[in-house]
Symmetry: C2
Subunit: 368 residues, 2 copies
């Protein structure tokens, strides 16, 4: 088992990473400090893992609350339902909310934990790759609003994260690959060596090689932990974690969150941001092509759907990353390094037009 | 103008206290750091003060959101309405939510500020005595649930509190007196000298003497600030601020929040907790009588309504102050000092029975 620590003073916590952790009853049991717990999950995940988790809590007053599967249920309505349930079961301030599932379950459960009686215990047991490398780490909790994703939420750190790599084997291939988009992101924004390792290790990762997976997840969690530790509430540097997300969120929104998995939209967004970087002359064409090629290597989409440039700009305008009227973009300047810049509208439009036309400076190969 | 500082590291903030502060445009303007603001208020308060507040924000992109007056509107529904409004007006992460009103407005606006886009700016302009000495200070934000008051919320500190003493003159007398209950509380829990000063200054305070009011509000805010600074999230000592509230909340709940103002229920609760203290032999009868007499002196109720002992115990059982099955009470041991103790059921029942019978060890005078 590997352990990554998120250093946040008195809110510091460990991320346990290893194969078979869901069968480690002692580890699970130690994560709940009071005498009550609520496991929040969905039927799909419950079928696979609930029994195993509950068997660790035989001496805890534990309740299970189910939410429907899918991003559209990460809503104020489901949030209210979970609160109603906690109250009906008379959970008190010492209870612990255990999120067993992917990002939707984790984000909603986290917001419930953050706000039930002004904050109770919270444990993340992420069961998707995306949740293990991204959403379960760093304390961003939220629900969606019809006006935008994650518009309502709180920063609230879990007391620990338990990432069992064995669960990745039962993940649909498409969902697994979507998680790899965030793994690529960490290489682009922070660690050229990790990016190069991903290029070399793509076959092993796609074959679910255990050692390769452990390194991919642990290094991703380490990078996220380091960025979050230096800027918990995203007043500065933490925004680099949004690389690819400004474009990606616009695409998700304009396709009504029904066409792409989040990681797929981020994959497209990372390529668009790389195109923007090339056009704004912050990034070399060669580096841009390496980004695009790694996205392709992991069988993720690179091309956005047919959307008008104006509609994308409009959708980006309401993005959370807008600060006082200016649109800030996370722009790569090299593999392993990004900068936070005010968007320059000319290369931005051009990048979106390239995307619409299905052709860009990144087409073709960098070594051909 | 007096200034009290709430010391919470990087979340420290000032409480400005003085007469006429709502006409201090520079002070108001300085409280908003970005280019957007939302003033959240209700029609009653808006009629009196909104124009004055808005005139300080001529160079800010300011919107006004009204919520209905009254505790029953401190709900998830109204919370959702306020979020819808912020999104419809395209407020971004640098906006500031300005709470202009009493505790209901402040608690709801604070929860909105805490959770809109995971937290935006927040300023408290309390317009009732209760809000000035209690709810606006310390960062407790919340909405109610049918299962209990303040069951959903967050700890979220404002960037400043602006308490204009001049507004107290326009407050209905009953509401003013209800605020005095919390003022008495600070004397009982923390400062015997302040309690004695209140006994001596009751006439001046009830006559709205400016210097007396300024001291009553400032000393209350100071005590609250000191307690909150040492235990922001109520893991220990902060609970002493709940003196009188466990009984008070039960009374409010059993009378459907329709009979008593919050401060009135707290006044009754403080007397009940004093009776409990006398019966549990932590408090002298003389000190208990001084508490009861000061409550009476400020024309606040001392006797609870006719409620069965069992129903009160049941209502206390679901109170937030229940931790792992035990009911903790804030018990006075002397004027100026309280202790947090597990409730002893015999004197607790006895205290409630005395209350029901309308007679108690505190009846009569300590000096007669």
């Amino acid at each position: 088992m590997r352990q990554v620590r998120v250093e946040l003073g008195e809110r510091s916590y460990p991320i346990h990473i290893g194969s078979g952790l869901l069968s480690d009853a002692a580890l699970l049991r130690a994560s709940v400090s009071g005498s009550q717990a609520l496991v929040l999950t969905n039927p799909t995940v419950a079928d696979l893992y609930l029994e195993r988790v509950l068997s660790a809590f035989t001496d805890v007053d534990v309740d299970v609350h189910m939410m429907p599967d899918g991003e559209s249920h990460k809503s104020l309505e489901e949030y209210g339902r979970a609160l109603d349930f906690l109250l009906s079961k008379r959970h008190n301030r010492t209870t612990t909310v255990v999120a067993l599932g992917g990002g939707v379950v984790g984000d909603l459960a986290g917001f419930v934990a953050a706000t039930y009686q002004r904050g109770v215990g919270f444990v993340q047991i992420p069961t998707t790759l995306l949740a293990q490398v991204d959403s379960s780490v760093g304390g961003k909790t939220a629900v969606n609003h019809s006006a935008g994703k994650n518009m309502i939420g709180a920063f609230y750190q879990p007391s620990c994260v338990i990432a069992d790599l064995a669960v990745l084997a039962s993940l649909p291939a498409r969902e697994f690959r979507a998680g790899l988009a965030e793994v690529i992101k960490y290489g682009v924004i922070f660690d050229a060596g990790f990016f190069a390792w991903l290029e070399e290790s793509a076959d092993k990762i796609l074959a679910l090689d255990e050692a390769a997976l452990a390194h991919a997840v642990a290094r991703s969690a380490e990078i996220k932990a380091e960025v979050v530790a230096s800027d918990e509430r995203e007043s500065g540097i933490r925004a680099i974690l949004n690389y690819g997300h400004t474009f990606g969120h616009a695409i998700e929104k304009l396709t009504q969150y029904g066409t792409y998995l989040h990681g797929e939209a981020v994959a497209i967004g990372m390529v668009q941001a790389a195109i923007y970087g090339c056009l704004a002359e912050t990034l070399s064409i060669d580096d841009g092509r390496r980004i695009r090629r790694l996205v392709e290597r992991f069988e993720l989409p690179c091309e956005p759907p047919q959307l008008s440039v104006e509609s994308v700009l409009e959708a980006m305008g309401m993005d959370k990353k807008v600060s006082d009227g200016k649109l800030r973009l996370i722009v790569p300047v090299a593999i392993g390094r990004v900068e936070i810049r005010d968007a320059d509208s000319k290369p931005l439009r051009q990048a979106l037009e390239y995307s619409v036309a299905g052709a860009s400076p990144l087409d073709g190969s960098s070594d051909g």
